[in-house]
């Protein structure tokens, strides 16, 4: 016979669960004010809905070029700086790095015609130009995250002279690897029909992301939360994360359509037939040093989608590093925060030493 908890034990556990649930609900209300984004920063440039932020230093400046973080369009960038003890940006600042961050903003109906050409060749380039001019340098260190990593690869291939070192984090490159569930789901989507009705709602994307692991993401995580009912700090952490997860901007229709069709459906980036703004994106033109950080347990961007980069770029200095965590764990988990910032800082120092 399978040893199962006896009736008394079950009754006790259920009673305990009910009691903790009773504590958790009001405590969660108390934690509702918890906000993401903790480090001081100021806007140095804005254009349309885009804002370029520069973070205030937290340590003596390291002798390194500034780092520009290019985040994805599908979520808000404060995930990189969620709270003091869970902030990749804070760790970089403490190492003396000069950090800039692009906030793409929340596109509305007037932005529906913004395409990848606008985001990469215009917006991203404006930010790079602004930093180059401010520091009187010829090239920046570019750190691209998730979809922002894909954008950074495209940008570097198009403007190789403006990027000194490239770091990609959980960035998809091969969009059709067998583990990529999201990719399988979008193959049959009629993109024109989808974007005909305007911007794609962030809520719809959230639904798709939740559907990747529905039992864990819509049930188990909330049941597990009850265990932290008497831990205010844990509840606040949970609420910050919960707010971030569902703080999903709508996607500009044109850019979304292009991203789904060109990248997910046609896999053009790796096939070498991608053009943005009429210019071919040739990954072989990326000859600068590249650090590729990917998560070994990533359900959104499987490792195989990221590691494909090694075979496509022209760089002789390519360092792939797998971190034993999930997609979001890269920025907030203990493993991610222990390993990712130090890998970035050490790698940038070693590259600077070679300049």
């Amino acid at each position: 016979m399978t040893q199962l908890p006896g009736p008394d034990a079950v009754a006790r556990e259920l009673a305990q669960f009910g009691k903790r649930l009773g504590m958790a609900l009001p405590a969660l209300n108390g934690a509702a004010a918890a906000q993401g984004g903790c480090s001081a920063k100021h806007a140095v440039f804005s254009h349309d809905k885009l804002t370029l932020y520069r973070f205030e230093p937290l340590a003596r400046a390291a002798d390194l070029r500034p780092v520009l973080i290019c985040y994805a369009l599908v979520n808000r960038p404060y995930m990189m700086d969620l709270q003091e003890d869970r902030s990749l940006i804070r760790a970089l600042l403490k190492a003396g790095l000069d950090v800039y961050l692009i906030d793409w903003g929340y596109p509305d109906g007037a932005d529906r015609l913004l395409g990848l050409d606008d985001y990469i060749n215009d917006y991203l380039d404006r930010c790079v130009q602004r930093i180059l001019a401010a520091h009187d340098i010829d090239a920046v260190n570019l750190l691209g995250v998730c979809q922002g990593g894909t954008f950074s690869l495209c940008y570097t291939a198009l403007q190789p002279d403006k990027v000194k070192n490239l770091i990609t984090m959980v960035a998809p490159v091969d969009f059709k690897t067998p583990e990529n569930l999201l990719s399988k789901w979008v193959q049959g989507i009629d993109v024109d029909l989808m974007t005909q009705s305007g911007n794609v709602q962030g809520a719809l994307l959230n639904l798709a992301f939740l559907s990747l692991m529905p039992f864990r993401l819509t049930q188990q995580k909330y049941v597990g939360l009850v265990a932290s009912a008497d831990n205010t700090a844990e509840l606040e952490n949970f609420m910050r994360m919960e707010k971030w997860i569902f703080d999903s901007p709508d996607q500009a229709a044109a850019a979304f359509g292009e991203f789904i069709r060109w990248f997910y459906q046609e896999n053009r980036l790796i096939r070498g037939n991608l053009e943005i703004g009429g210019r071919k994106v040739d990954l072989a033109r990326i000859t600068q040093p590249v650090l590729n950080l990917y998560a070994l347990r990533d359900h959104l961007v499987p490792p195989s989608a990221s590691t494909a980069l090694g075979g496509c770029i022209g760089s002789a200095d390519y360092s792939p590093v797998g971190i034993d965590t999930g997609h979001i764990g890269m920025y907030v988990s203990g493993t991610g925060l222990r390993e990712v910032p130090s890998k970035i800082v050490d790698w940038l120092h070693s590259q600077a030493a070679r300049e």
Binding site: T2, Q3, V10, E13, A110, R112, G188, I189, L193, F215
Partner: protein
């Protein structure tokens, strides 16, 4: 227990009594006044049918009757003796088959009504709108079919998750391992459910259903927008198509402006450089000319 043999009959009777009371109350409150549309509809709901065609209450009650019969048949198969052996698997299968039959039957009347509406030709002044409505109805029907298929997939996921979970419990039993608490059992259930789901979710069929649903829903949205635009045009209200057209023009102008600015900046940057380049070239010329003058 006469109501247990005809529960919908009792329901129908209660409904009729309620309607009688309502009509009496209405007549007292507004003597001689015509009945408002909603009140008229309510008074007729569930009344005996006098004309052919779909009857909402009748269809609903027929479905209730069928479900009741199915449940009764299932209960009758349960062993009468408390200690008799229970073949749960075959009973569950019979109940499932009955449910499937019920779902098929309950969907059939609606299907006929849909088909009749969709087969009518679009004619006259409002031909375009009629056609759009028909397409919306067709798509809605298609959406419901796909939704049913997806539900079937989810049922299969649930079944397979239960099988996997059961197999894990059996394996734990053999190895003598136990589960300390309900939470660990629950976590194992979630793990097995995710595995069962993942096996389906990665299949082409599942992906096809998801994209089919998305495409159908998007087309419904697009057609509904067209209908709204037809209406808006009648009142000279701005439409999304018009706004999109303005956006396109604005974007083209912005791009032109951006291009002109870049050209102008490049020209300004190139001018001093050209001047600087021009000077050294001029020197040797002047230098060459000077001796000539001297001569």
């Amino acid at each position: 227990m006469s109501e247990s043999h005809d529960p919908t009959g009792a329901w129908r009777e209660a409904l009729a009594q309620g309607q009688q009371a309502f009509l009496k109350f209405y007549a007292e409150q507004a003597p001689g006044q015509p009945m408002p549309q909603f009140a008229e509809w309510w008074a007729k709901f569930g009344a005996p049918k006098t004309s052919p065609g779909p009857d909402a209450a009748g269809l609903y009650l027929a479905a209730c009757d069928h479900f009741y019969a199915l449940t009764r048949a299932f209960m009758e198969q349960l062993p009468k003796q408390p200690n008799a052996a229970l073949d749960a698997q075959s009973l569950a299968k019979k109940f499932q088959a009955g449910l499937e039959e019920w779902f098929q039957k309950s969907g059939a009347p609606g299907k006929t009504a849909w088909t009749q509406g969709l087969e009518l030709p679009s004619l006259g002044v409002t031909r375009q709108q009629q056609e759009l409505w028909q397409r919306v109805l067709e798509l809605t029907k298609r959406y419901q079919e796909l939704q049913s298929e997806l539900s079937a997939q989810w049922s299969a996921v649930g079944r397979e998750a239960a099988q996997k979970f059961g197999a894990e419990l059996a394996a734990a039993s053999k190895s003598g391992k136990g589960f300390a608490d309900l939470k660990s059992l629950y976590d194992r259930w979630i793990e097995n459910a995710e595995k069962a789901y993942s096996a389906h979710a990665h299949q082409e069929k599942y992906a096809g259903l998801l994209s089919g649903l998305t495409n159908t829903l998007n087309e419904i949205k697009a057609k509904q927008r067209e209908l709204i635009e037809c209406w808006a045009q009648q009142f000279d209200l701005p439409t999304r198509t018009e706004i999109n057209s303005v956006h396109s023009r604005l974007k083209a102008m912005q791009q032109q402006l951006h291009g002109l600015r870049e050209k102008s900046t490049a020209k300004r940057a190139a001018a001093p450089a050209a001047k600087a380049k021009a000077k050294p070239r001029a020197k040797p010329k002047r230098a060459a000319r000077k001796p000539a003058r001297k001569r």
